[in-house]
């Protein structure tokens, strides 16, 4: 099977095409294309406005596609590193995706949406205070739900359009799922017709020491949150971090055993590492009763400290790796899952083919690497190592 193909186009845009599906697989039902504009160095106003600007772009592209008679569904997609939109269409109409660049080129002249939807899209509300502490409040990775909501509520649709206008001139990254060569050629030709400004290079952020917060979550209830440094998407250390946090989190993970078994301190528990283009973070979140939040905090720290001190048993390591590998395959089961992954990698400067190598990298992680990953999370270079029981 051939892998994804990266095509650097003359005007600065990049087109990435997904690997074709397995020969024996049923024909795809849906085709997708994702267009992403990098946010690195875009300024606070543009980063704050990005989700809503993308919402407007999706509405505009929907209208343009409708006018062209193309059955295209356009949805905004915004992460910490890019904003843009994903187009999906029934597979038999995939050639319509070749028009994406034409529709994108019309956006500066398209009126902004007449109504601003309430609220701001956010997927990781609980991590807001942790990201502020870990990345510094001035970085776009620290933008949280409250700041964004307040900003968007204060802006008119025209204001949002103006905030994001500069983004439309930036060199986009476009990923296309299984499409006919004619569609790829049409898209490449249209993207090549424009000259874009290159996005500034990404700058790796320094790692900061762990932070924790206890937030109210309704009467008598609380969220205990712990955040640590992570690594950028391009870092090979991310595989060990993924395994490390998979060992700690999840149903049946070490945190689950410590917090649920014997004490039933929590029902909702999450622990994961997240990578962006310029940095990353790791997080544990546990919902609990307010009165036991201190005990939850103590147990979480004890589990992580234990993992940083001794190499983990293979019996715990292998199931965690397997979970990650399965999830990695699952994320690529849909056309849009694949195109959104490909643009994310390209924006972060990671070769697209890396997506297919994920399972092999995870399989090679050793118990010692997991221990070292936790040591690094709890004590990134330049910060004192904390002993069991010490408050961060």
């Amino acid at each position: 099977m051939t892998g994804p193909r990266r095509i650097a186009l003359p005007g600065g845009a990049v087109l990435v095409t997904a690997a074709p599906p397995a020969a024996e697989a049923p024909p795809p039902l849906v085709a997708a294309a994702t267009l992403a504009v990098p946010l690195a160095g875009a300024g606070r106003a543009a980063a704050l406005a990005a989700p809503l600007a993308a919402f407007g772009w999706a509405r505009s592209v929907t209208a343009l596609a409708r006018r062209a008679g193309a059955a295209v569904r356009a949805e905004p997609v915004t992460t910490a590193d890019f904003t843009g939109l994903t187009l999906e269409t029934p597979a038999e109409e995939a050639r319509a995706l070749g028009r994406l660049a034409d529709w994108f080129a019309e956006l500066p002249h398209h009126p902004p949406p007449s109504a601003v939807p309430a609220g701001a899209p956010t997927a990781e509300h609980h991590s807001d205070p942790l990201r502020r502490a870990l990345f510094g409040s001035g970085h776009r990775y620290a933008i949280g739900h409250d700041e964004r909501s307040e900003y968007l509520a204060s802006r008119s649709p025209e204001g949002i359009h103006a905030d994001a206008a500069g983004l439309l001139g930036r060199a986009p990254v476009v990923a296309l799922s299984h499409a006919a060569p004619a569609t790829v050629d049409a898209l490449a030709a249209a993207l090549s017709a424009a000259v874009f400004r290159p996005a500034p290079a990404t700058v790796p952020l320094p790692a900061r020491p762990p932070v924790s917060r206890t937030l109210p979550a309704g009467p008598g209830r609380a969220w205990y949150l712990l955040g640590t440094a992570g690594v950028p998407l391009a870092s090979p250390a991310k595989y060990a971090l993924h395994v490390a946090w998979a060992v700690a989190g999840g149903r049946g993970g070490l945190l689950d055993r410590s917090l649920r078994r014997g004490r039933a301190l929590t029902y909702s528990l999450a622990a994961f590492s997240r990578e962006f283009a310029e940095g990353g973070y790791c997080m544990c979140a546990a919902a609990c009763e307010e009165r036991v939040a201190a005990e939850v905090a103590e147990r979480v720290r004890a589990v992580l400290q234990g993992l940083a001190e001794e190499a983990i048993a293979p019996g715990l390591l292998e199931p965690a790796k397997e979970q990650l590998i399965v999830r990695g395959h699952q994320a690529l089961e849909t056309a849009r899952g694949t195109t959104e992954r490909l643009v994310g990698y390209e924006v972060a400067g990671v070769p697209a083919a890396t997506a297919a190598d994920y399972a092999a990298h995870i399989a090679r992680v050793t118990p010692g690497q997991v221990r070292d990953a936790f040591r690094w999370c709890l004590d990134p270079p330049g910060h004192p190592y904390r002993r069991k029981g010490e408050a961060p």
Partner: protein
């Protein structure tokens, strides 16, 4: 398109294996469906099907909580796993251990009951969950379907290891259950799964199965309205059911998508053995305002579907997102659980064949039922 007929086989012990082919996938979805749900519980058993689910994961599938996701619904308990090919047989063997006699200590039971109390506290804090349960209680009043799966805290407080052991022996019987497998060429694994099933311990002396308070097949429930406080406003819901109707699932699935996208309504759906339940929830100042808002939204969606844009909206708002994961193994297994294996395989073709007027008829039916909802109970 996937066309191979499902493989059906009865394994030693009576467990039915139903396998669907999904060529080319590296994954396998397994789902063990046991017909034990809250609707089968008697008044002094409310919540025990859910307790069994927790204990089976903890005690019988020990150490597999990372691999197995479990859920108890009105009519089924489901244990699911998503794995790679090399883990299929081991995972099937693991899931079948759900039928082994349940060995549970006082401490383990106390632990899981405490977890369930935490789960209840979290769920009851959510107005959507409270409203949903209020709707079910009104819709199925006097039947086993009326009470929440989480059950009665009083019943749980009286629960003992001996009681759960006996209930497990009576309720968890392989001959009543189905193991679903969706993967590439599943027939390659069927013999090995059968071999593994032959070595499983048998449940000790199964007792009679409980048959409690199911709404009868002929019972046509009256549409209902319910409301619960939600901040400064009310969460208001309308629920209605229909008897089984061949071919209704696909147009309804697409109609729900259009109602969500074009009508902005929170519309939900539950497929039961002999009825299908749909409910709509909105935030409003009261039931009358809610009913007007829902009626207007449904009428707008109906008109859109029958207008010139109808076929286009059906494709972009509903067909594309519904087809998006139609070939994903977990989604195929989920559909096989609720709609049957044949319907799961035919799902993409059925969706593609739905027309805008068909979807509009579903919306018209919901509108008609909304008119009959009347004033429902007010819950606090």
């Amino acid at each position: 398109m996937t066309t191979a007929a499902p493989l059906r086989r009865t394994l030693p012990g009576g467990l039915r294996l139903v396998a669907l082919d999904r060529p080319g996938t590296r994954l396998a979805a397994l789902a063990l469906r046991i017909p034990v749900g809250s609707a089968g519980e008697g008044p002094r058993e409310q919540g025990l099907a859910h307790v069994l689910e927790h204990l089976v994961v903890r005690c019988s599938l020990g150490g597999a909580a990372d691999r197995v996701a479990a859920a108890t619904s009105r009519e089924y308990t489901l244990y699911k796993a998503l794995v790679r090919h090399h883990d299929i047989v081991a995972t099937a063997t693991l899931l079948a251990a759900a039928f082994a006699p349940l060995c549970v200590t006082e401490a383990e039971l106390a632990d899981e009951l405490a977890t369930i109390r935490t789960e209840r506290a979290q769920r009851t804090a959510d107005p959507r969950w409270r409203l949903q349960e209020a709707l079910f209680a009104a819709l199925w009043e006097g039947t086993g379907h009326a009470h929440p799966t989480l059950g009665d805290p009083g019943v749980l407080a009286r629960c003992t290891p001996a009681l759960v052991r006996d209930l497990h022996a009576a309720w968890y019987r392989p001959q009543d259950a189905t193991l679903l497998l969706v993967t590439d060429r599943p027939e390659r694994h069927a013999d090995a799964i059968a071999e593994a099933a032959a070595g499983l311990p048998r449940p000790a002396a199964p007792g009679p199965r409980p048959v409690a308070g199911r709404p009868g097949r002929d019972l046509v429930e009256r549409p209902v309205m319910a409301q619960v406080p939600a901040g400064n406003r009310q969460a208001v819901g309308f629920a209605f059911t229909r008897p089984p109707e061949p071919g209704a699932a696909a147009p309804e699935a697409l109609a729900r998508r259009v109602v969500r996208t074009a009508g902005g309504l929170d519309i939900q759906h539950l497929e039961l053995r002999d009825r299908s339940c749909t409910w709509i929830m909105v935030a409003a100042n009261g039931p009358r305002q809610a009913a007007v808002a829902v009626a207007r939204a449904l009428a707008g969606v109906h008109d859109t579907l029958l207008g010139a844009d109808g076929p286009y909206r059906l494709r972009t708002d509903a067909l594309v997102p519904e087809l998006r994961s139609a070939h994903a193994v977990q989604a195929m297994a989920d559909r096989a659980v609720w709609l049957g294996a044949d319907a799961a395989l035919a799902w993409p073709a059925r969706l593609t064949a739905v027309t805008a007027p068909e979807a509009a008829r579903c919306v018209a039916r919901w509108s008609g039922q909304l008119d009959s909802c009347g004033d429902g109970p007010e819950q606090s």
